[in-house]
């Protein structure tokens, strides 16, 4: 009996998920209708409750990211891997997109990750990236973008809003890309090394605040980001040391913050920020 009820329930669930009512389903199985009804009502409630829809902003952003990933050769994720022809095709497409959405671009300039115009802001950034050719310019551009991500994190935190984990990853990604471009240029461009050092110091401060109240699932991302920041910081310091005295190249060491794990002379940490997945 139980076995047959399992079969009947499964058939009835199929009908329910296809849009039939509980009453229609029960009418099809009159012999077991009494036992079936509470189960079908439960199944209906579960299906209804599970019918959650993703945010439109997320759908748009995810689609944009997916298309971007699919437009690149699998396993390679950098612009230089695209042929000149494909870069031009992409550029033309992007410019068209820019024209179509031009009215929204100014409005999206200050959009934050949980706002509907944010995908447009990010798409526009990608289009602008195409104009940068040499490593020095690209490194500067990536540092600018890392700065934007950092400002978004600070802004969300100030407003008591949740910082999505992808923002931490994007921050690290932009800085990594900047670093890759710099590696070819660093010996010649002391100003880039200074900017990298400043950016790393700022990132370290923000990430350490985030780490204070971070839930376990965000810890790994933040710790990895902090680890990378420290490596980057040391590398930039090394380059600057090779080039000459620090005083000639940028802010004094005390303005650049303590190394990882140290939080000022009194050992106190700054006030925690709203962390990824933490609701206000």
């Amino acid at each position: 009996m139980n076995r047959s009820l399992e079969d009947i329930l499964d058939q009835a669930v199929d009908r329910l998920l296809a849009g039939e009512t509980v009453e229609d389903c029960l009418a099809a199985y009159p012999d077991v209708a009494r036992e079936l009804e509470p189960l079908l009502r439960t199944a209906q409630a579960v299906a209804k409750a599970a019918a959650v829809e993703p945010r439109p902003g997320f759908v748009a952003e995810a689609r944009y990211r997916m298309r971007h990933t699919m437009s690149q050769p699998r396993g390679r994720r950098r612009w230089p891997s695209l042929s000149l022809g494909r870069r031009w095709a992409l550029l033309v497409g992007a410019v068209l997109l820019l024209l179509v959405t031009s009215g929204m671009i100014p409005a999206s300039a200050n959009a934050l990750p949980d706002e509907p115009l944010y995908p447009i802001k990010r798409a526009q950034e990608q289009v602008v990236n195409l104009w940068f050719r040499d490593d020095a310019a690209l490194a500067g551009r990536r540092l600018d973008l890392a700065g934007h991500r950092l400002e978004e994190m600070e802004c969300l935190s100030r407003r008591g809003r949740r910082i999505p984990p992808f923002l931490v990853r994007d921050l690290t990604e932009e800085t990594n890309l900047a670093e890759q471009h710099m590696e070819r240029q660093l010996a010649l461009r002391v100003d880039l090394a200074q900017r990298l050092l400043q950016m790393s110091t700022r990132q370290q401060a923000v990430l350490e605040q985030l780490a204070e109240g971070a839930p376990p699932e965000a810890e790994e991302d933040i710790q990895q980001a902090l680890h990378r920041v420290e490596e980057r910081r040391q590398r930039a310091l090394h380059v600057l040391e090779q080039q000459g005295p620090m005083e000639q190249q940028g802010p004094p060491m005390e303005q650049l913050g303590p190394p990882m794990g140290q939080h000022g002379q009194n050992g106190q940490r700054p006030k925690p920020m709203a962390s990824p997945t933490e609701a206000p």
Partner: protein, 172 residues
């Protein structure tokens, strides 16, 4: 060769549109947090795209089963990491999805469902999530879980009975 790549690209883009919402719903029901569900949904499709060559080598496994298996593995890893620390509060996580009066009702029902699902076994949770949120057929669920259809049918029945009991208790 280039034509093959273009076909693959178009087919995946089509599958992306077809399964995006279903994968999101499955993950949302399993993790109970909209932002985490967003991250895991994106990651599911990125992994699927990167590993598409390995899918082509698996004869007889439908794309849906393969895709949901990726989603399931990500969910399991995520829940394992989360269980090492304190649980993430579930309240109000889906608030931003809609702003109509209906939202409060859906939100409440979703929370009830989340709580009720906590009382199920892992296998029951997976079946309920794949079937009712992912919208997979019994045969597809069996392929995702690597179990017989009979076993999945029994898990579905036991899961619905357990949910009925839990939801009945909470309504009293």
């Amino acid at each position: 060769m280039a034509e093959g790549a273009a076909v693959e690209h178009d087919a995946f883009a089509e599958a992306y549109e077809a399964y995006f919402g279903r994968v999101y719903r499955y993950i949302a029901v399993r993790v109970g947090d909209a932002f985490e569900a967003e991250d895991l949904t994106s990651e599911t499709f990125l992994r699927a795209w990167r590993n598409l060559p390995s899918f082509r080598k698996r004869d007889g496994v439908p794309f849906s089963a393969w895709l949901f298996r990726i989603a399931h593995n990500l969910v399991v890893d995520h829940l394992r990491k989360r269980s090492r620390g304190s649980a993430v509060p579930l309240t109000d996580r889906f608030e931003s999805m809609t702003n109509t009066e209906e939202a409060a009702e859906i939100n409440l029902t979703f929370d009830e469902l989340k709580q009720a699902i906590e009382g199920l076994t892992e296998a029951q949770r997976q079946v309920i999530g794949l079937r009712f949120a992912g919208g997979l057929s019994l045969a597809e669920v069996a392929q995702v879980m690597n179990r017989s259809q009979g076993a999945v049918k029994a898990l579905q029945h036991a899961g619905v009975v357990a949910l009925r009991r839990t939801m009945g208790r909470s309504k009293r």
